[in-house]
């Protein structure tokens, strides 16, 4: 029997502020799961700390709400031990690019088959609005006492440099686009990053819903707002590497696209390369039966609790019994 969207809902009360982008992200996730018919028991969402960290409690799949910045290590541990799991990691911009930046970069080296969502609202919401690593220098959102001194990280460029093999951006208020992007990320064979632009109605009074939709700038001829966001797919941009020879060209194109912000903000897939061996491929080369018999599935003892692992050969190598 097919799973309905309601099957992915819990009764947990989502306590985000009215108008929070997290509601859109939650909806998009539940829609994507429904369309992909992900079995709840095999699906795990790991989250970090902050408003986004509460997402797993609202979705009826396994939900592991971890520590600030540590979403990725937890998610990787589970995926390594049981590669059958569909693993999604979700965290804020401060979580992934500030306190967890080391994990963000090093995860790129592994091309492990998980999907990582960054809820990017450019502020630390739950601690009342401090600047996050994606807020540009000189900006002063309403809760910070002085303009921001630190420059912003460009997460798309950073992910490219780190080795992510699927990099996309979407928008929390375009639930359809976000749902499709998340689905592509989940279906990608390798490490997928989806950066989600998300207004924080309470603390970010600069990058508001109105700002993203360009209500501050009208087309002089039509008088209509000119949205800042535009869809890469609609411009003929194709970030997908179709054969290994074009990987570098696509990488450079994505890096160039990654520089766009403010007046024109691209959403959609910047880069996708499935020719890079995934982590499970790399392990399988060394451990041929890894996928059939991964750590989580291995039997380690018999019914009498006796261990079944034999270290006979290792002990032989250490043996120093006297000569004949």
């Amino acid at each position: 029997m097919a799973l309905k969207m309601s099957d992915y809902r819990t009764t947990y009360f989502a306590d985000w502020c009215p108008g929070c982008g997290d509601f859109g992200i939650l909806n998009a996730l539940q829609m994507a799961f429904t369309e992909l018919q992900l079995p709840p028991h095999k699906t795990v969402i790991f989250s970090g700390i902050g408003c986004s960290g509460k997402t797993p409690h609202c979705i009826k799949v396994n939900g592991i709400h971890t520590l600030h910045g540590r979403t990725l290590p937890f998610a990787i541990g589970a995926k390594l031990a049981n590669p059958e799991l569909e693993v999604i990691a979700a965290g804020g911009d401060g979580d992934g690019l500030g306190i967890g930046a080391g994990h963000f970069v090093n995860t790129g080296r592994r091309n492990i088959d998980i999907t990582y969502l960054i809820h990017d609202n450019r502020v630390y919401g739950l601690t009342k609005g401090q600047a996050s690593p994606t807020l540009e220098a000189g900006l002063k959102t309403k809760a910070i006492p002085k303009p921001n001194l630190n420059a912003a990280i460009n997460p798309v460029a950073l992910a490219l440099a780190a080795g992510y093999t699927f990099i996309a951006r979407s928008y929390a208020y375009d639930v359809r686009h976000l749902k499709e992007t998340i689905k592509k990320g989940i279906q990608h064979n390798g490490l997928a990053l989806v950066i989600i632009q998300q207004p924080c109605p309470t603390y970010n009074d600069i990058n508001t819903k109105e700002w993203y939709s360009g209500e501050d700038r009208a087309d002089p001829t039509t008088g209509k707002p000119v949205p800042r966001l535009y869809k890469l797919e609609e411009t003929g941009y194709d970030g997908v590497v179709h054969n290994p020879d074009e990987a570098f060209e696509k990488y450079l194109a994505a890096l160039t696209k990654a520089q766009e912000w403010d007046d024109k903000i691209p959403i959609g897939v910047f880069y996708q390369n499935e020719f890079v061996p995934t982590y499970k491929d790399r392990i399988s080369k060394r451990i041929p039966n890894y996928l059939e018999n991964p750590p989580a599935k291995q039997i380690i003892c018999d019914e009498e609790c006796r261990p079944i692992t034999s270290v006979r050969k290792m002990l032989e190598e250490l043996t120093v019994t006297g000569l004949d």
Binding site: L67, A81, V320
Partner: protein, 644 residues
């Protein structure tokens, strides 16, 4: 004179083959039927600073280090200067003949602190020594024999024979010349030495032959030049007992594999990393039943924060998972440890203590982290701590800690120390069949019939049945926040009170259920008037000192605390209650275990024997300290200082 026990030291700059020489010497002694105990000392340095391996061999099993050296094999001038006073009367020193003229003040790697101390010793002895040769002349007065071997000349003979024109290519074999000299002086059978060389250089016949040639040339040189002058003959009683020779990190790795560990994370750190590398070398596992091959995934992470959290992530899938580290790494793990405690995750941390605080003494010994391991991370949550006291214990303990972790669903910290990690020892072969695997309340698909699963269900014992991620028919939630039975965030005071208590009372259960034999080792006469208490690697030194003192008529017993958390306090109190002299022996400044015992039992120690100079406690110095106590001549606090 045939000596029952012989102490040899290989000494030279790092990168000069000290470890290889020690390995060959140890194996050669083992193959001959001797038991071996080797202590390794080295700087936090890749090449050039001083290092040594101090090795005791005996027909009987040995569990500790002693202070003296019977035969010191040096590769350079610095080694002579550093260890000159350790050589026992009647012992010998092997030197490079070219090193004799070296002026002591020209040795750049001698630190200002060493020079000051050395000068003080010379002044106390009334000795004037400018060169290495002057020093050797001085110890000759104590009947120490010196054997200067022209390493380069002997090497030239080797080079000529194998038609190697560049002598510099062979200088890395100076360690083998020192070995040949050693075995020549003590008249040791060459067959086990040759076997050791062949084993260590594996399937590289050219290297084996070169080394065998160097061995024989130096052996012959010694016979020719010094004959039987040394007077010690190293004889080995033949034995057929199946024995292994290994270091602590290997014992831990073996125990982990038998115990079912299937995912290990680590960030490179001394002295823990050897364990992970050994696991990775052996990642594919044979099974005894008709099962497919098993495997262990060894993941080198970006830091120790990732290491512990990745291990916890893996543990949530039902795999036995662990991470291995030392003090600085464990400091970074503190937050992850708390998460595992709060979410009742059975994760294992193998904690190799070294000299601390901060980077401290990265390659040296220390036991200053017990309190930290017990209290790391904010707030209160249960954990179990098990401390191994010798290499063999490391093996069985490394398996057992997973049982504690899974039965009580909490992080378990297995404490080892540098003296155990890097020392190596021969043992009767370990018996994996003694190990049992207990997985606690671990549910599977068949246990679910559609009802809602509560990961943190309140129960009488505090233990809620656990289920691996991925089990059909069930989903669950975890959070580092306080949570309700389902695992959702909950800040209600009633829930907080109940859930907190549910977690904490698992420790009472562990305390009640885990038999005292797994937590304490008691040695000696229960009615002895003096009781020594210790934990970790001092065990071997204490047992040896106790035996020596027993022979002299001093009765002492010994409580080796293996599980300081939860401490079997009634047992400890009962044993200590009988003692007239209560003595703590620990490798730290503040006597941490003594403090814990006082906190738990109200019983205070009478005597403190402490050491924190970065070197393990030796059998000799603990013997001296205990003897003073037994003779009523000791101050309340004695600080041990042996070690170079």
């Amino acid at each position: 004179m045939i000596r029952d026990e012989f102490v040899w030291m290989a000494s030279g700059p790092q990168g000069s083959g000290v470890d290889t020489a020690a390995n060959i010497f140890s194996r050669a002694c083992c193959y001959g039927g001797l038991h071996v105990y080797g202590k390794r000392e080295y700087h936090s340095n890749i090449k050039g600073l001083h290092s040594y391996f101090h090795i005791r061999v005996s027909p009987k099993e040995i569990g500790a280090d002693v202070d003296r050296v019977d035969l010191l094999a040096t590769f350079d001038a610095e080694s002579i200067v550093r260890h000159i006073w350790e050589v026992s009367p009647g012992g010998g020193i092997i030197t490079d003949r070219d090193a004799l003229g070296t002026r002591i003040d020209s040795i750049k790697t001698l630190t200002p602190a060493f020079r000051t101390e050395f000068q003080r010793i010379l002044e106390n002895k009334g000795v004037k020594a400018e060169t290495v040769s002057d020093l050797l002349d001085e110890v000759k007065k104590n009947n120490v024999k010196t054997y200067a071997v022209p390493y380069m000349e002997v090497l030239k003979e080797v080079a000529d024979e194998i038609h190697e024109e560049q002598l510099s290519r062979l200088t890395r074999m100076i360690n083998v010349l020192a070995l040949g000299t050693t075995f020549g002086l003590v008249n040791y059978d060459k067959a086990p030495v040759e076997k050791a060389i062949s084993t260590i250089f594996g399937n590289r016949p050219r290297i084996i032959n070169m080394n065998l040639l160097a061995l024989n040339k130096s052996y012959q040189y010694v016979k020719r030049t010094f004959g039987d002058d040394f007077g010690h003959k190293l004889e080995a009683p033949p034995t057929k007992e199946p024995r292994i020779f290994l270091q602590g990190t290997q014992a831990v790795a073996l125990g982990k594999l038998v115990g079912g560990c299937r995912l290990q994370t680590y960030y490179p750190i001394t002295p823990a990393a050897d364990e992970s590398e050994y696991l990775e070398e052996n990642e594919i596992l044979e099974t005894e039943a008709e099962q497919a091959n098993g495997s262990i995934i060894v993941m080198q992470t970006e830091d120790e924060i990732a290491a512990i959290n990745m291990a916890s992530g893996a543990a949530l899938t039902g795999a036995r998972a662990a991470t291995s580290t030392s003090g600085p790494g464990f400091s970074l793990m503190a937050e992850g440890l708390g998460w595992a405690g709060n979410n009742e995750v059975p994760v294992v941390i193998n904690y190799y203590q070294r000299g601390a605080p901060s980077t401290g003494l990265p390659t040296r010994h220390g036991q200053g982290d017990l309190r930290f391991a017990m209290h790391a991370s904010h707030g209160e949550f249960p954990r179990i701590i098990l401390c191994s006291g010798e290499i063999e214990e490391c093996f069985y303990d490394a398996a057992r800690v997973f049982n504690y972790a899974e039965r009580y669903q909490m992080p378990v910290i297995h404490i080892i120390d540098k003296a155990l990690a890097n020392s190596n020892k021969s043992y009767r072969i370990f018996d994996p069949s003694l190990i049992r695997i207990e997985r606690g309340q671990l549910l599977s698909e068949k246990d679910f019939k559609g009802e809602e699963y509560k990961r943190f269900q309140y129960t009488e014992s505090g233990i809620s049945p656990r289920v691996p991620l991925g089990t059909p028919g069930v989903v669950f939630w975890n959070t580092g926040d306080e949570h309700d039975e389902v695992g959702h965030i909950c800040e209600e005071p009633t829930t907080r009170t109940l859930m907190y208590e549910k977690r904490m009372k698992k420790l009472d259960l562990a305390d009640k259920e885990i038999p005292v034999e797994e937590r304490i080792n008691f040695f000696g006469d229960p009615d002895a008037p003096a009781t020594v208490v210790s934990w970790g690697s001092p065990k071997g030194a204490i047992l040896e000192a106790m035996e020596k003192l027993r022979q002299e008529g001093f009765k002492i017993n010994f409580i080796q605390v293996r599980m300081p958390l939860p401490l079997p306090k009634e047992y400890v109190a009962e044993k200590l209650g009988k003692a007239q002299k209560k003595i703590i022996v620990e490798g730290n400044y503040t006597a941490q275990l003594a403090g814990i015992i006082r906190e738990e039992t109200g019983i205070a120690m009478d005597y403190f024997v402490l050491k924190w100079n970065g070197r393990p406690i030796s059998a000799d110095e603990v013997y001296e300290a205990l003897k003073l106590i037994m003779q009523e001549k000791a101050p309340r606090r004695q600080v041990l200082t042996h070690g170079t």
